[in-house]
């Protein structure tokens, strides 16, 4: 099969159910290189399931995923990291007795384990780099989660609600940071509930509701779409 070369990621007809519950139903979309794609939808819409499937933590029941033209549907999660697909977790996963520096050195794929000062600075972690990750505040843990992902030099960054609980100026900081990653050629798919962030950051948005993709397009148009409003607010 010949795929359009500028499509970094092609997702085709993904189905996933957990027992009797349909988590994703026939979800298809694609992402261009350098694009920032927002994934929104009410709670339980299947956003995190989608991200788990893209990162390889879950296998879809059917459907395919192509990355740079290669079928990665059954590729193990750690192997996806090696080809540049890196995720963050919605709930940060500190290791209590690791310092921030240890945590990031261990996350680095290079054996030398050199941590870029820039990542620490960008994420405001320079001052806490010798603290144990268990002692960080909630927001610092969120930043650490993103720092960990950036340390792995992603080409496709999958971000799961990294801004939840942030204050407005912190949101702006996260938005600018992710945009600067895009300048470096990183493609980003992010899940977010904070609409201000979605409209600032996303080039394009897809909306999931009860496992189905109900809308797709540029943020301000999608956010005013009647079916999207219904999905969030009910009839």
């Amino acid at each position: 099969m010949i795929l359009c070369p500028e499509k970094l990621l092609v997702v085709k007809n993904i189905h996933k159910r957990f027992g009797g519950v349909v988590a994703l139903e026939d979800v298809s979309f694609d992402v261009e290189k350098g694009e920032i794609l927002g994934v929104i939808g009410p709670n339980g819409a299947g956003k995190t399931t989608l991200l788990n499937i893209l990162s390889g933590f879950l296998k879809p029941d059917s459907g395919q995923i192509f990355y740079k033209g290669r079928n990665i549907t059954n590729l193990a999660p750690h192997k996806r990291v090696k080809i540049g697909i890196v995720r963050t977790f919605q709930i940060p996963r500190p290791i209590p007795d690791f310092t921030v520096l240890d945590y990031l050195v261990t996350s680095s794929l290079s054996v030398a384990g050199k941590i870029s000062e820039k990542i620490l600075n960008d994420l405001g972690l320079s001052n806490v780099s010798y603290l144990k990750t268990g002692e960080l505040t909630v927001i610092e843990k969120k930043r650490l989660e993103l720092a960990r992902a950036l340390t792995l030099n992603p080409e496709l960054l999958l971000v799961d609600e990294v801004m939840a609980g942030s204050r407005p100026h912190e949101i702006e900081h996260f938005v600018n940071l992710l945009k600067s990653q895009r300048e470096k050629g990183v493609t980003i798919i992010f899940i977010e509930h904070i609409m201000q962030a979605v409209s600032l950051l996303a080039d394009r948005v897809i909306v999931l509701d009860q496992g189905r993709k109900i809308a797709e397009g540029i943020p301000h148009r999608v956010l005013s779409d009647i079916s999207v409003i219904k999905a969030y607010l009910g009839e």
């Binding site: 750690h78 690791f98 792995l152």
Partner: protein, 322 residues
């Protein structure tokens, strides 16, 4: 250039361990009672066993059957030396290959199918029981449950590493411990990644760690040093029996030293140097008085130490340090 390489090896030592090792190296100058060197050699062997057990434990895998690799190391060194007149230094490697093959089978079967936690513990016990029975059954080669003595005719043979003096074994044990220690401290990133696997397997996958491969490597590394300790034990004690080297009790002894030591090699070293002499001295004093009395007292002392250091000696040292 060469000098730089040497100093970077020295830098791998934490200062207390370095001081401890240097002191041990010069201990034979004092020309103490041979029994002292015997006990210190045993303590060093157990310290090495605890450190190598700890490599696998860093990955969150608790083995209660480490005697498997110790027994294979000891018995296959014996086979090679006794039956084929192979030099100790070659026999060590042959035995190590057998131990690693066993480790690979155990690791492949359990880690591939995600057998973890308490079920991994059970599997390791089952494997050591299997080898124990196997070696009791083939008594023409193994001496059955009576065991075998290493009967090397030559005295003081470097080829067979057999000496009348205890000192060569003493230095062999120091070398083995230093080898274990340098491996653990040299593979810093590897060990850190094992800790990530122990703390959070999903996180490990998310940072690109091949969890299966790392667990298997940890087990192989651990089995390698355990097998080496078995080989040294064979030439040191010159007697092995299946129950003694494959038995559950031996695995428990390794675990006791390792768990009391805690998470750092220095803690494990101290733990071995506390528990082994206490065990030996108690046995010498009390085993004649009443059977099992020495173990009772040993248990009481162990309980007291654990009450004072619930996170092991490493935890105690850390708390003192900070």
């Amino acid at each position: 250039m060469r000098k730089q390489g040497f100093s970077s090896i020295i830098n791998l030592f934490k200062r207390p361990v370095l001081i401890f090792m240097v002191m041990l190296c010069f201990l034979p100058v004092l020309n103490l009672n041979p029994y002292v060197y015997h006990i210190v050699t045993l303590a060093l062997l157990f310290a090495s066993l605890a450190v190598s057990w700890g490599i696998l434990a860093s990955a969150g895998q608790i083995s209660a059957g480490h005697s498997t690799f110790f027994g294979l190391g000891a018995y296959f060194s014996y086979f090679a030396m006794q039956y084929y007149n192979i030099s100790f230094f070659v026999a060590v490697f042959l035995a190590l290959i057998v131990a690693d093959l066993a480790a690979f089978s155990i690791g492949y079967l359990t880690f591939r199918y995600g057998v973890g936690g308490i079920y991994f513990v059970l599997c390791t016990i089952a494997f050591s029981a299997f080898f124990s029975e196997l070696f009791i059954t083939f008594r023409e080669f193994t001496g059955g449950s009576l065991g075998v003595s290493l009967a090397i005719v030559e005295r003081d043979s470097f080829y067979y590493f057999t000496f009348t003096s205890k000192i060569p074994y003493y230095y062999a044990a120091i070398t083995l411990f230093i080898l274990c220690y340098l491996t653990v401290s040299g593979l810093r990133v590897f060990m850190k990644r094992l800790s990530v696997i122990r703390a959070d397997e999903d996180l490990a996958y998310a940072i690109g760690i091949d969890v299966f491969k790392y667990k298997l490597l940890a087990l192989l590394l651990s089995a390698t040093f355990t097998s080496l300790a078995g080989s040294v034990y064979l030439v040191f004690i010159r007697f092995i029996d299946p129950e003694g080297v494959f038995g559950l009790w031996f695995s428990v002894e390794i675990m006791t030293v390792a768990l009391l030591g805690g998470s750092t090699p220095f803690g494990q070293l101290l733990s071995a140097f506390i528990l082994i002499p206490i065990g030996e001295v108690l046995r010498a004093i009390f085993s004649g008085v009443s059977a099992g009395l020495n173990l009772l007292i040993y248990g009481l002392i162990l309980a007291l130490i654990i009450a004072k250091a619930p996170e092991g000696l490493s935890g105690l040292l850390k708390r003192r340090g900070s």
